[in-house]
Amino acid sequence: MMTKEANVFMPSRRAVLAGMGAAGLMTTTGLSRAAMAQGAPMKLGFQLHATGIGASYGRWYQRTADAAAKMINDMGGIGGRPIELVYEDDGTGPKRGAEVVDKLANQHGCEVIFGTLFSHVVMGSAPRAGELKIPYLVCSEGYHVASGALNRWTLQPGITDVRSQIQAMAPWVAANLGKKVTMVFPDYAFGHDHRDFFTAAIAAQGGEVIAHIAVPPTETSFTQYLPQIPAETEVLYHVMVGPGVLTFVKELGEFYGAGAGPKLFGFIDSLEAVDMATPGLEFLEGSHFWEAHSRVKPADAGEHEAAYRAAVGVDDNGASLSDPADVATFSHMFSAWETLFFIKQAMEASGYAGPADRQKLVETMEGISDLPYGVERPQGAKMFNGKTHQAFGTQNISQVQGGKLVRVHQTTMADGAYDDAVDYTAMSF
């Protein structure tokens, strides 16, 4: 359908279908095109982590995307057409992820696909999106987009990538927490990204990582690793993720006890959807975390913050309005919202009418650079780099105070800037 079918060995599927008298199918297709022209809903595919390790994110990403879609439809849709989000569960896995891309494009007839968070799902799915020549807008934070590892059809316009996030943190960490850093990280790609990017970033600030402690992903207890933390450590940088996080924090607290220990700095990825007042997390009191979007509404929050929270159904503490114990994946889920509004902006600017305009749509996206603060971008203004297909925004550092995350610093976009590693606009479609 969307793919260019090579005619090898045998007659094409189209010829066979025609030969078998598939006139009914053709009539249906014709009718659907007519319906589209008359304002039928535009289907946008969402690759959802409804099950698997990303399920807690997926639940909130769906709520966020639904809220954004409702707001867009209330605003008149995209180019006058209402939108309909089509969700397919990828099981947070790359194999099913690629199949889901296929299903959203070829079976559901979606115009674009967006919403993917986990990096391995993005990496496994992007080749299929490229084959289908369908815009694939991911929300994964991964550096894989800006690194040039993917293709022209894959873009990340709704969230800053991890390299930029880490780089933006380093000056504040060095100036306020210390310059002798020990890093504890999971021993796979996510942790290695932090290891490599932060080590370089803190060195640029005159600091030093004095120990790298890599923890295998199968570990359920961390007591054997904690004595490896050098005594002269000023800052303990931790990015553990998964179900072992609570054990890690608890054992860290027991290890240091009431005595003086290093200052703690972590990425909220460890504790997304987890209440900071959860028993066992008391040791985190006073420690600092990176957040892309502040879970607890800052006192000086922008004018669109309240509207965003109300639309998604989140209170000022970052929990569900209907259940305060249901804590949102607040730091990340804005990316689903902002990506959908980016799609709207680009589709309307390009005059998108259907799949034949997909290439024009990507070219239009590549031409967008300034993404100002507004209801479309409640996390904050961003700059989109059309060459690297990557957005860059501000980041936040929050401190745990009284069991709540309180923002103490906000970076600038320039803090996270780095040289381009790729120019996707020079690649063919």
């Binding site: 079918e5 090579a6 090898v8 066979v16 397919e88 990496m123 992007a126 084959e131 295998p216």
Partner: protein
């Protein structure tokens, strides 16, 4: 003769299916064919020889990385890389077999599982080369096989079908050969075969290596045809999946892996659209299968109506 007619008819039906199916299902068919090759490899060791392995993900991954890394890092063309992937699967099976085949039964399951975990964690650990859990996306120029572009659905299907057809016919010939009867002897009564002067260790090692070649070819084909290699394909899930395909389709049947892979694929595809608890539905279906057709679909057919089915 009717055995060969049946299997050639199945291949012709697959050709026809690709021509008439809508694009989504036609492309699914390519995936199913590659997964069926993997399941056929598993079936050779488990279904015919009774070697219940929990480590075949390692053999699939050996093929996937054996081919993918040669293409990605060394610039090797896809066809020799595909062959190298098959050899990597066979070599890995030989290495594992040399140690694991000193055990049997539950111990064999555990030892193969442990080897597979070592492989999985090694892929994560050496992520600078392997891409770790994120994996590596292959580009279009890296995925050309004999001038056929694997980024296009139709040539991809033909390559998948050719690989499947070769695997199917080789397996059919294998199970009908003298060696095929030795495979059954390992499953049915290893001690008696030893008493007859055979060398069960050597026979089982050969079986495992053949199984590894099938699995390795499938892993290599998956990387080259679908453009991605990643650590998750070495996880325990990919040791369980071929077992489920084989159990569902019929252990010890030539066509069972294809049927099982296809049914399981669409069971997940269909039920995941209905509920996020789709794995419970899949589990319930397997429980029903074990209760009412413990020999799988084709195994039950063979037992009741088609005793000639290989």
């Amino acid at each position: 003769m009717k055995i060969w007619i049946l299997h050639i008819a199945v291949l012709l039906a697959l050709v026809l299916a690709q021509l008439v199916l809508p694009p989504y299902h036609a492309n699914n068919l390519s995936r199913i064919l590659v997964l069926a090759v993997f399941a056929m490899g598993y079936n050779i060791s488990f279904g015919y020889a009774g070697l219940l392995s929990l480590g075949h993900a390692l053999l699939f991954a050996a093929g996937m990385y054996g081919a993918g890394m040669l293409v990605h890092h060394a610039g090797m063309p896809a066809l020799p890389a595909l062959i190298a992937g098959g050899l990597a699967g066979g070599a890995m099976a030989g290495l594992v077999g040399l140690l694991a085949l000193r055990t049997a039964g539950v111990s064999f399951m555990i030892v193969t599982l442990m080897f597979a975990q070592v492989g999985f964690l090694s892929i994560l650990y050496f992520n600078g080369v392997t891409g770790g859990d994120e994996g590596i996306a292959l580009t279009g120029p890296q995925r050309q096989i004999l001038g056929l572009d694997m980024t296009q659905d139709t040539p991809r299907f033909w390559v998948a079908l050719i690989l499947f057809a070769i695997a199917l016919l080789v397996k059919l010939a294998l199970v009908q050969s003298r060696f095929g009867r030795l495979m059954l002897a390992m499953r049915e009564n290893e001690e008696r075969s030893r008493m007859l002067g055979l060398n069960p260790f050597g026979i089982k090692l050969k079986i495992l290596v053949i199984s590894g070649v099938f699995s390795g070819v499938a892993g290599a084909a998956y990387a080259l045809l679908f453009g991605y290699l990643g650590g998750s394909f070495a996880s325990v899930q990919y040791s369980i999946l071929p077992m489920l395909y084989v159990l569902l389709g019929g252990a010890g049947t030539v066509l069972g892996p294809l049927l099982g892979a296809g049914l399981m694929f669409y069971l997940v595809d269909f039920t995941s659209g209905l509920t996020s608890a789709y794995l419970m539905v899949v589990g319930a279906a397997l429980v029903v299968l074990v209760l009412f057709a413990p020999k799988g679909i084709l195994g039950t057919l063979r037992e009741r109506w088609l005793p000639w089915l290989p």
